[in-house]
């Protein structure tokens, strides 16, 4: 995409979209092994190192909230000296706004944050960059996600994944929650990104710099961790059992473990 003649925007210039999960219920739950402030400290250091890697590198941070999503930082907008300050300021404002939007007082479990929304925002930003001219950095998306998948967002997330695939934007995922995220596994698999679930969360910074810091061009020379296997096996709709072989409705593609005369999903 970048012309070879361009010296400024070489192929090692990145536009990194970072999606930070700010689900308050996730960060205050007991299973989270380390605090949000520790996490932020490591992520901010990582963002600084990205910006130091190449002068033209650009970082955009989007907060994935419980009720809303918003851009909380864009390195192209100045604040050269007080990046972290500006980011934290915005983040605090975002959290307050997110809380105002909240209607229910208690939620079962830790709920899920609006990954589909932040993914869409990231893709919109990338599209704007694409259209700004022929000279632009190589975009990629990094999801730092902790809360579980929201089944209601399934279609929206899949659509985002496919549009990312179409515009050749890899979605990297770093899952900090206790469970694997099937959505992000598929997102990274489909878009050719890296899926990682760190075991040592206090070494977060090390994971981020080792795996996610390199630009897309250099990535092809590296041996990055590959998923041992994405579990593509489906679960049957009737008993939710994971099955190797089953019956599929020819109309709505629902999966069943036994033969049914009539599809229970589409009738």
């Amino acid at each position: 995409m970048t012309p070879v003649s361009s010296k400024q925007y070489a192929d090692d210039v990145s536009l990194l979209m970072v999606l930070i999960d700010t689900n308050p219920l996730f960060w205050s739950s007991t299973t989270t092994p380390f605090s949000f402030s520790k996490f932020l400290s490591q992520v901010l250091s990582f963002l600084n190192s990205i910006l130091l890697l190449n002068q033209l590198n650009q970082v955009v941070v989007i907060a994935t909230g419980f009720n809303s999503c918003d851009y909380i930082y864009d390195s192209s907008l100045g604040h050269a000296n007080q990046r972290a300050e500006a980011l934290l300021q915005k983040l605090e404002e975002f959290v307050i706004k997110d809380e105002e939007l909240n209607k229910e007082d208690s939620v079962d479990g830790i709920g899920s944050s609006l990954l589909s929304g932040s993914l869409s925002m990231a893709l919109c930003y990338i599209q704007r960059v694409f259209r700004s001219g022929s000279l632009h950095p190589q975009p990629r998306i990094l999801c730092l996600h902790g809360s579980q998948d929201g089944p209601g967002q399934y279609v929206a997330i899949m659509n985002s994944i496919f549009s990312a695939q179409r515009s050749m934007v890899p979605i990297d995922s770093c899952v900090i929650g206790s469970q694997h995220s099937a959505f992000l596994q598929q997102a990274s698999y489909i878009t050719g990104g890296v899926y990682l679930k760190p075991q040592q969360l206090d070494g977060m910074f090390q994971y981020l710099t080792t795996v996610f810091a390199t630009d897309l061009h250099s990535r092809s020379f590296l041996q990055l961790p590959k998923p041992v296997g994405v579990d593509f096996r489906a679960s049957c709709f009737c008993h939710k059992n994971t099955i190797d072989m089953g019956y599929i409705c020819s109309v709505c593609l629902s999966i069943f473990c036994k033969h049914h005369k009539k599809c229970s999903t589409c009738g």
Binding site: L40, E92, G109, P151, G152, Q200, Q206, T210, G267
Partner: protein
């Protein structure tokens, strides 16, 4: 092969490589005798077939020697023949001789008999040889097991009957239909001198006439032989035909008036007419025949055949004697298409006639039994010619939709995934937001932690991330066309594949011999088991021979083979135990 003896020129060889001694081989039922051409040589043979246990022969090929190997308990006799046909002859003779001597010889050779007596036609032999030549893998297996003595030729092919049967299926018997020639094309041959006209009648023609003209058939059954002889009958028939061919309808009518029997042939066929009526009744009542008019030749007078210029002035009395050319053609076509309905030798005229008549009767009876035909017809008319205005509005058949909320599926799955690990939040949302804000202000006040990561943790993470880079696991699965086999040295790969096919072959025979009912099967199973246990250590060798890097992959490949073999061995041992337990109960050698 009924000859009591066979005498052929052949060479006797003590081994395959031996140049051999020329001489005469003479075979009788009981024994074979070899006399060398040079009487001074000491290789005179005189062996009884009783001692011969089996025979093998070399494969047929242009540049190969035609060998026949007669096996004995100790040693064997190898003969080379001048050509393959001699060899074939001798082999068949030997096969017979062994069988018969085996029968005489008593139960000792009983085991071998059911297999060795298979008489192969040369065509079948050729087919097998061709199959072996075409399929190198098959040839390898054949060499390994049949020539290696693990399986007999028959056993080897028994599992591949399908391959051999390809030809047999092609020979499917097809019944010959009726000729599409029309009978009236039989031109009378006249000798030109006398006034006599001669028709040649064959059984085939009679059959066709009976099929096409039920009236003639009926007449034949009625008249012959009570009223007239068969010859008279056909004379009359051809006379009628002759009259008809002259197109002199008036003359025909006159003759018919005189001769009652002749009239039968000249008048229109009543049986045919009734059949036609029956058929017309079956035609879709909504079919508009008039609409089709003009589509074809029907509007051309004489149907495009300018033969019968219709004589409109023909009086009504001659009407029955008119027969249109087209009627004949149609009738003939119908009969030919119907095919041969009866399977009677066409030799006997009467039986043909009866068979045809009875088959027709059955058909008619069948139709008559369908009593609701008429009702069906009426239903059909009402259905086809329905008046829409008078019908109740009919909705298209619809199945009610019941669409489930997909959330049901995903939510329940989530619950299942989480299971007991599902952690309830301790805090309400407002508290959670509060704590989140606290965290943010905390970092704003304190700033970034220093150091960001503890060095020990960092090195731990780094090691975890890089430890597998050198492992082969990451080499695999990159290219879907690449398989583990391709990364192995080609010798190992071929060896693995060969072992795999041979194990499959052996297992196929092994399992097919269960349950063991005869002592022959018992011997076969133990033979197979020995062959399989020979492969077992070979697989281990392969596993150990490969480099440590890919050993895991190879063992993954070898594992299923070993498992299959283990299963077979386990079954064998179990069976063996049962067998010995049984024989303990029944000491009288129950097998």
């Amino acid at each position: 092969m009924t000859d009591a003896q066979v005498v052929k020129r052949a060479k006797y060889k003590s081994s395959v490589k031996d140049p051999g001694v020329r001489g005469i081989l003479k075979m009788t039922r009981e024994r074979f005798v070899f006399m060398p051409n040079d009487p001074t040589l000491p290789v005179r043979l005189n062996v009884e077939f009783r001692l011969i246990k089996g025979h093998k022969s070399s494969k047929e090929g242009s540049n190969r020697p035609a060998l026949l190997n007669l096996t004995q308990d100790q040693g064997n006799y190898i003969f080379e023949f001048e050509n393959f046909s001699d060899r074939e002859l001798c082999r068949d003779f030997v096969a017979k001789a062994i069988t018969s001597s085996g029968e005489v010889g008593g139960p000792t050779s009983e085991k071998a008999v059911p297999l060795k007596d298979e008489q192969l036609s040369s065509a079948e032999m050729e087919r097998r040889i061709k199959l072996l030549q075409e399929d190198s893998e098959l040839q390898k297996l054949h060499k390994q097991f049949v020539i290696g003595g693990v399986l007999s030729e028959t056993e080897f092919w028994a599992t591949r009957k399908k391959l051999l049967d390809v030809n047999a299926s092609r020979k499917a018997k097809q019944r010959v239909g009726l000729k599409s020639d029309m009978i009236f094309n039989v031109k009378p041959s006249s000798d030109g001198q006398s006034n006599r006209v001669t028709f040649n009648l064959t059984p085939e023609m009679i059959h066709q006439i009976f099929a096409e003209k039920p009236a003639v058939r009926q007449a034949y059954l009625n008249f012959v032989p009570n009223k007239m002889t068969e010859k008279d009958f056909w004379t009359k028939y051809w006379r009628a035909q002759y009259l008809h061919s002259t197109k002199n309808i008036v003359a025909a009518a006159a003759e018919a008036a005189e001769d009652e029997e002749l009239a039968v042939f000249l008048k229109q066929d009543a049986i045919l007419a009734s059949e036609t009526r029956q058929k017309i009744r079956k035609v879709d009542p909504t079919l508009d025949m008039e609409a089709d008019e003009g589509d074809d030749y029907t509007h051309i007078p004489g149907h495009g055949l300018a033969i019968e210029t219709t004589k409109d002035e023909m009086e009504a009395q001659y009407e029955p004697y008119k027969r249109s050319f087209l009627q004949d053609i149609n009738r003939h076509a119908a009969v030919v298409l119907e095919g041969r309905t009866v399977d009677v030798e066409t030799g006997d005229t009467r039986s043909v006639a009866e068979a045809l008549a009875s088959s027709k009767r059955i058909e008619l009876a069948k139709e008559a039994s369908d009593g609701n035909v008429h009702q069906e017809r009426l239903d059909r008319i009402t259905r086809m010619a329905e008046i829409e205005d008078l019908q109740a509005p009919r909705d298209p058949p619809v199945a009610p939709l019941c669409i489930k909320d997909p959330r049901d599926y995903f939510d329940s799955q989530q619950v299942q995934l989480g299971g007991t690990r599902q952690v309830k939040s301790r805090l309400s949302t407002s508290e959670a937001y509060g704590s989140l804000r606290v965290y943010i202000s905390e970092i704003r006040n304190i700033g970034l932690s220093d150091p960001i990561v503890k060095p020990e943790v960092a090195i731990k993470v780094f090691n975890v991330l890089t430890q597998n880079i050198s492992s082969s696991k990451y080499q695999l699965g990159k290219n879907p066309h690449e398989s583990i086999l391709d990364t192995l040295p080609s010798v190992t790969k071929e060896e693995l594949l060969l072992h795999w096919t041979s194990i499959q072959e052996l297992l196929k025979h092994f399992w097919s011999s269960y349950p063991i009912t005869t002592s022959y099967l018992y011997a076969k199973v133990s033979r197979l088991k020995d062959a399989m246990s020979q492969i077992y250590p070979k697989l281990q060798e392969i596993k150990e021979s490969v480099q440590s890097d890919s050993r895991h992959q190879v063992s993954l490949l070898v594992q299923p083979m070993l498992q299959a073999l283990d299963a077979a061995f386990a079954h064998y041992d179990l069976d063996q135990q049962k067998r010995s337990a049984k024989s303990g109960e029944k000491p009288n050698g129950y097998v």
